[in-house]
C-alpha cells in the first residue's frame, strides 16, 4: 500500500514535471531573496548580500538534477521515449504490425479463455469457509481398484461416532422433490443431508436456521431448507416463509431456513434431513452403499492423519462384519480435488495445448522481427556508431516487442471474452451444473493479471532473441551492405531454427488433436446394442406419499403407458426405472444351487425394472427365451431376464434359462426369480463404458420408484412431449413430467466433454498448422530473395526451372522434415499424458502419427512452392544486375 502510494506520487510528479521544475526554481529564488535580505540586514551591500546568498545555497543546477533523479524521472523518461519511438516504428510498418498483433491476439486470447475456465474450475477456492479443510469420504476396495464408492449408513454412523480427526461429518444423498401447491406441480433436485450438513460446509442460512440434530429422527424430520433461487422464484422472496408448510412429494414439510444467495452445492434447491431407518442401520445394510460423505478436518489435522484414522476404524468394522465389509476401507480425498477430478485432465491438456499455440505464435512473431531486422540493420548500426550502448539498443527493441505484445494482449482479451462465452454456452446444463465454478467463468481480476503477465512474458520471449541478434552488428559490414555478411547468415540460421521449432510444436499439437478426433470417431462407431434414433424419453417420479404401496405404482405406470401408446405417432412405449445414459444402479445377487461365494466374489449386476414392451421399444434383440408379457404380474411365477454379459460371466458353461437367482446375499431370504430370457448387451453408462452384466425385472412384479417413460415414435420424438405430459397429468394432476429429451440427445450429452476437447484441440491444431505454414513461407520467401543472384547465375549457366524449383523446395522441405522429426519424438513423449482422454486408440497410434506428419509436410510443401515458383521466374539478366 505504502509502495503503491509512493509510485502514485512519483507518477503524479512525472505528469507535472515541468510545473515541478518551475516550482522548485521559484522556491530557490525565494530562498535566495530572503537570504540576501538577511545578509543585507547584517550589513553587507546589496550586491554582496546576493552573491553570498548564492554561495551559501550551493550548486543550484546540481540540486535540481538531484531532485529530479530522486523522483525516478530519468528511467520513466527513457521508457516513454522508447515506447513512443517503438510505436512510431510499428506504425511505419502497418503490414508487419497487423500480422504480428493478430497472431499474438489469437495466441494470448485463446490462452486467456482457457485460463479463465481453468481458474474458475480448478484454482478458485470453493465458496465455503476454509474450503481446504473439506474432505470427501468414500468407501474403497483397493484390491478391486475402486476408490470412490458411496458409503453405507452403518459405516458412516460408525465413522462419525469414532473418528478423532473431523470437526463435523455429514452424509448426503440426492433426492427429488415434487413441489405441489398453488402453481403447477414442479420437480426439483433435492438433497437429504445429515443435520450438521450446513455446519460442515461452514454456511449459515440467510433466513431461519439450519437443521437441529434431533431432526434426523423419524417423526421430526418433516422440515426443509430451501435454496435461495427457489425461494425467490416460487415464493416471491417471502421473508415470512420460515415456519410455513410446503407440500413436497405429497407430504407437508415446515420450511426452517433459506440458503444465502451465493451458496451453491450442485444444482440443489431443497434440503431435508437424512433419516436412517432401522432397516438401513441393520448389519446387512453395511452392504448397501448409497451415501456421499463430506467432512471438515479439525484444526491441525493433516490429510494423512485423517486417512489413517478412518482406515483404522474401517479395519475394526471389517473384523466385526467380515461378510459385508471384507476388503472395504474408508478413503479420504480433499473435496475440491474430488469434485474436479473428472474434468481436470482435459483442462490441463487444453491448457498445455493452448500454451503450445502461444509458443508457435511467439516463434512466428520472432521470425517476423528477424526478417525486419535486416531492414533495420543500418539504422541500428548508425545508432551504435553514434554511441548507443548495446543494452540501450536491446532495451529499445524490447520496448517495441513488449508494446506489440501488449496491443496483442488487449485485443486477445476481447477475443477471450467472446471465446469464454462460447465455451460456457457450448456445455449443456447437466455438465455445467455439476462442474463447480462453471457458472462463474468470466474475465475477473485474476484472469486480467494472467493476460497481462503472459502478454509481457510473450513480448520478452519473442523479442529477446531478435533483439540480441540485431544489437551486435558488425559495424563496418552493416553500414556498407544490405545484410549478406556474417550477421545476415547468423540471422538466417536463427530463423531456420525458429521454423523447425514451429513445425515440431505444430506437429505435437496436431497429433494430439488427431488422437482426440480418432477417439471420437471410434466412440461414434461403438455398438450401442439398441437403436437410439426416434426414441423419446422423460422422467416421472413415484416418490410421493400416494405411491407408497406397490399396486399404486404399478397402476399409475400402467395407466400412463396405455395413454402414451394410444398417442398418435407412437410405435411402442415402455417404462424403465433407469434408462440408458442416465444413472446406474447395481445390486448383488445369488444364484440358487451354487455354493456361497467368497466375500470379494459376490456376483453383482445392473438392475433394471421394465415393462414388457421395453425391448421392442429400444430394439434390444432377444437372444434366447422370451420377453416379459402382461402375464408377468404379482402373484404369477417370479421371472427375470438377463443379458449376454451376465450369462457369459456367471453361467459360463451352462444354459441360464430356467436357472433361479435372488437379489441380495447368500443368506438373505429373498424370493427366487426364474431366468426366462437372454437379451443382447447394451451400453448403459456411456459410449466408452464396458458391457456390464445386467438383469431386467418386470415392473408389475418388482416395482421401482424412479421411472422413465420411453417411446419409439414415427416423427420427431420431441413432438410427443405434450401428449406424454397430458397423459401423465390425466392420471395424476400433481405429477410433473421432467427432462423430456430424445435418446440421441442423451447420448450426445454424454460425450459433450470429449466433443469439446476435440473441437478445441482441433482449433488449436488448425491454428498451429496455419501459423507454421506462414512461418515456413516467410523464411523461404526471404531465402529466395537472398538467393536471387545465385539463382540467376545458375540459370545463366544452364540450370532449368525444374532444377531451381527442386533446389528451393528441397531447402524448405529439409527444414520441415527436421521439424517433423523432432515433433514426432516430442509427440511420442507427450501424448501419453492424454491417455485418459483417449478411447479405442493408443497414445502412439502409428496411423495418426504418420498421417499427421504427412499432412504437415504436405502443407509445408505448398508453402514452399509459392516462393520456389517465384524463384523460377527469375530473369538471369535482371538477377545479375540485382542491387
Amino acid at each position: 500500500m505504502d509502495g503503491l502510494m509512493r509510485l502514485w506520487r512519483r507518477l503524479l510528479f512525472y505528469l507535472r514535471r515541468n510545473q515541478f521544475d518551475r516550482e522548485l526554481e521559484e522556491e530557490i529564488r525565494f530562498h535566495q531573496a530572503m537570504r540576501a535580505e538577511e545578509n543585507h540586514a547584517e550589513g553587507m551591500s546589496a550586491e554582496e548580500a546576493r552573491y553570498a546568498a548564492q554561495r551559501q545555497f550551493g550548486n543550484q543546477t546540481l540540486l535540481l538534477e538531484v531532485s529530479r533523479e530522486m523522483w525516478g524521472v530519468r528511467s520513466i523518461e527513457t521508457l516513454i521515449q522508447d515506447l513512443r519511438y517503438g510505436a512510431r516504428m510499428l506504425l511505419k510498418n502497418p503490414g508487419f504490425t497487423l500480422v504480428a498483433v493478430i497472431t499474438l491476439a489469437l495466441g494470448i486470447g485463446m490462452n486467456t479463455a482457457i485460463f479463465s475456465v481453468v481458474y474458475s474450475v480448478l484454482l478458485r477456492p470453493l465458496p465455503y469457509s476454509a474450503p481446504e479443510k473439506l474432505m470427501a469420504v468414500y468407501s474403497m476396495r483397493p484390491q478391486m481398484n475402486s476408490f470412490r464408492n458411496v458409503v453405507s449408513a452403518p459405516d458412516f454412523v460408525d465413522w462419525r461416532a469414532q473418528n478423532k480427526v473431523f470437526d463435523a461429518m455429514s452424509a448426503y444423498t440426492r433426492s427429488g422433490y415434487t413441489l405441489t401447491g398453488s402453481d403447477q406441480p414442479e420437480r426439483f433436485n433435492g438433497l437429504s443431508v445429515s443435520a450438521n450438513f450446513f455446519q460442515t460446509l461452514g454456511v449459515k442460512p440467510q433466513l431461519g436456521r439450519a437443521f437441529l440434530p434431533e431432526e434426523e429422527e423419524a417423526g421430526r424430520n418433516r422440515v426443509a431448507v430451501l435454496g435461495h433461487d427457489l425461494w425467490q422464484r416460487r415464493f416471491g422472496a417471502d421473508p415470512n416463509l420460515v415456519g410455513k408448510s410446503v407440500s413436497l412429494n405429497g407430504e407437508s414439510y415446515v420450511v426452517v431456513g433459506v440458503t444465502p444467495a451465493d451458496f451453491r452445492f450442485a444444482p440443489v434447491e431443497i434440503y431435508t434431513p437424512l433419516t436412517f431407518t432401522a432397516e438401513q442401520m441393520s448389519d446387512m445394510a453395511r452392504g448397501m452403499h448409497s451415501y456421499l460423505v463430506i467432512a471438515r478436518l479439525k484444526a491441525g489435522v493433516t490429510l494423512a492423519q485423517a486417512k489413517t484414522d478412518i482406515e483404522d476404524i474401517s479395519r475394526r468394522i471389517e473384523r466385526q462384519y467380515p461378510i459385508t465389509n471384507a476388503g472395504k476401507l474408508g478413503n479420504v480425498i480433499p473435496y475440491q480435488q474430488d469434485i474436479v477430478g473428472d474434468i481436470r485432465p482435459s483442462l490441463l491438456v487444453l491448457l498445455g495445448a493452448v500454451g503450445l499455440v502461444l509458443l508457435i505464435a511467439c516463434a512466428n512473431v520472432a521470425n517476423l522481427l528477424l526478417a525486419r531486422a535486416a531492414s533495420r540493420q543500418r539504422e541500428i548500426a548508425v545508432r551504435t556508431a553514434l554511441g548507443a550502448g548495446r543494452w540501450r539498443i536491446v532495451r529499445q527493441l524490447m520496448s517495441e516487442s513488449v508494446l506489440l505484445s501488449l496491443v496483442g494482449g488487449g485485443l486477445g482479451l476481447l477475443l477471450a471474452y467472446w471465446g469464454a462465452d462460447i465455451l460456457i454456452k457450448a456445455v449443456p446444463s447437466n455438465i455445467a451444473d455439476f462442474t463447480p465454478g462453471w457458472r462463474q467463468i468470466g474475465v475477473n481480476p485474476q484472469v486480467l493479471s494472467f493476460t497481462l503477465l503472459i502478454s509481457l512474458l510473450t513480448g520478452v520471449v519473442f523479442g529477446l532473441a531478435p533483439a540480441l541478434q540485431v544489437s551486435k552488428p558488425d559495424l563496418t559490414d552493416a553500414l556498407k551492405d544490405s545484410g549478406k555478411g556474417s550477421a545476415g547468415l547468423k540471422r538466417q540460421r536463427a530463423r531456420k531454427v525458429l521454423v523447425i521449432a514451429e513445425m515440431a510444436l505444430a506437429l505435437v499439437l496436431l497429433i494430439g488433436a488427431g488422437l482426440l478426433i480418432k477417439s471420437f470417431q471410434q466412440l461414434q462407431q461403438v455398438t450401442l446394442g439398441f437403436n437410439p434414433s426416434q426414441v423419446f424419453m422423460a422422467n416421472v417420479s413415484l416418490g410421493s406419499a400416494k405411491y407408497r404401496e406397490e399396486p399404486q405404482q404399478i397402476n399409475f405406470l400402467q395407466e400412463v403407458l396405455q395413454r402414451v401408446e394410444r398417442s398418435p405417432g407412437v410405435v411402442s412405449a415402455a417404462t424403465v426405472n433407469l434408462p440408458p445414459f442416465s444413472i446406474n444402479s447395481d445390486r448383488v445377487f445369488t444364484i440358487a444351487g451354487k455354493p456361497e461365494p467368497a466375500p470379494d466374489a459376490i456376483p453383482d449386476a445392473n438392475y433394471r425394472v421394465i415393462s414388457p414392451q421395453y425391448f421392442r421399444t429400444l430394439e434390444i434383440p432377444l437372444v434366447r427365451g422370451r420377453a416379459f408379457t402382461d402375464q408377468d404380474v404379482a402373484g404369477a411365477p417370479r421371472v427375470v431376464i438377463i443379458n449376454e454379459a451376465l450369462a457369459r460371466r456367471y453361467f459360463p458353461d451352462e444354459d441360464p434359462i430356467g436357472k433361479q437367482i435372488k437379489l441380495g446375499r447368500y443368506m438373505e431370504a429373498n424370493p427366487l426369480h426364474t431366468v426366462v430370457g437372454i437379451v443382447g448387451n447394451i451400453k448403459h453408462r456411456g459410449l466408452d463404458s464396458e458391457f456390464d452384466p445386467e438383469f431386467y425385472y418386470p415392473y408389475a412384479q418388482t416395482p421401482a420408484r424412479g421411472s422413465a417413460i420411453v417411446a419409439r415414435t414415427q416423427g420427431d420424438p420431441l413432438s410427443l412431449t405434450t401428449a406424454v405430459r397430458n397423459a401423465v397429468l390425466e392420471v395424476d394432476k400433481e405429477q410433473p413430467l421432467t427432462r423430456a429429451r430424445t435418446m440421441e440427445m442423451a447420448i450426445s450429452d454424454s460425450v459433450t466433454q470429449r466433443r469439446l476437447n476435440m473441437i478445441l484441440l482441433g482449433i488449436f491444431g488448425a491454428l498451429a498448422l496455419a501459423l507454421s505454414a506462414v512461418g515456413i513461407y516467410g523464411v523461404m520467401s526471404y531465402t529466395v530473395t537472398q538467393r536471387t543472384r545465385e539463382i540467376g547465375i545458375r540459370m545463366a549457366l544452364g540450370a532449368g526451372r525444374r532444377d531451381v524449383l527442386k533446389s528451393v523446395v528441397g531447402q524448405g522441405m529439409s527444414l520441415a522434415a527436421s521439424g517433423v522429426g523432432i515433433g514426432l519424438a516430442g509427440a511420442f513423449l507427450v501424448t501419453r499424458l492424454m491417455e485418459t482422454l483417449l478411447f479405442g486408440v493408443k497414445p502412439t497410434d502409428p496411423a495418426t502419427f504418420g498421417g499427421i506428419a504427412l499432412l504437415l509436410l504436405g502443407v509445408a510443401f505448398f508453402a514452399c512452392l509459392i516462393p520456389a515458383r517465384r524463384a523460377t521466374k527469375v530473369d538471369p539478366v535482371v538477377a545479375l544486375r540485382f542491387e
Binding site: D2, M5, R6, R9, R10, F13, E23, L24, E26, E27, I28, F30, H31, A33, M34, R35, E38, Q56, F57, G58, N59, Q60, L63, V66, S67, M70, W71
Partner: protein
C-alpha cells in the same frame, strides 16, 4: 587548510539532515517554508552544523516522496509566494523512530568515548 575546513564545518552525519528537518517541522507546529527551516537550523545550532542550504531542497523532496511531509503553496510573512511544508502523521512516526535510532547510536558512541564509570 584542508583540516581547518573540516573542523570548522562539522559535517552532517549522513541521514541526520532529514531527521533535523522533521524535528524542526514538529517543533514549529505551523507549516514552514524551506528558508524558514534553514534559518531555524542555523540559529538553534549557532552555525555549528553548517548545512549547504541548497541541500535542504532535495531532502524535502525525498520526505515528500515518502509521504512524511506535505507541501502546499501559500503566502509568506512578507506576502511572497512560498512553498510551506507540513509534517504528516506518517512523518511524525518516522521522526520518532529516527530519533530513537539516533539516540541508540549516540549512546553507544558516548559509552565508548566517555571515561569508564564517569556518568553512572
Amino acid at each position: 587548510m584542508e583540516k581547518d575546513k573540516t573542523r570548522k564545518k562539522a559535517e552532517m552525519v549522513p541521514g541526520t539532515l532529514e531527521m533535523l528537518i522533521l524535528k524542526t517541522l514538529e517543533r514549529n507546529r505551523e507549516p514552514m517554508h524551506g528558508y524558514g527551516v534553514a534559518q531555524y537550523l542555523r540559529r538553534t545550532t549557532s552555525d555549528v552544523l553548517q548545512v549547504e542550504e541548497g541541500s535542504l531542497y532535495p531532502a524535502l523532496q525525498r520526505l515528500a516522496i515518502n509521504g512524511w511531509v506535505k507541501a502546499e503553496w501559500g503566502q509568506s510573512e512578507k506576502n511572497h509566494r512560498a512553498r510551506f511544508y507540513k509534517l504528516t502523521p506518517a512523518g511524525r512516526r518516522r521522526l520518532k523512530q529516527e530519533v530513537a535510532d539516533f539516540e541508540r547510536v549516540l549512546e553507544a558512541i558516548l559509552r565508548v568515548v566517555q571515561p569508564a564509570g564517569g556518568a553512572s
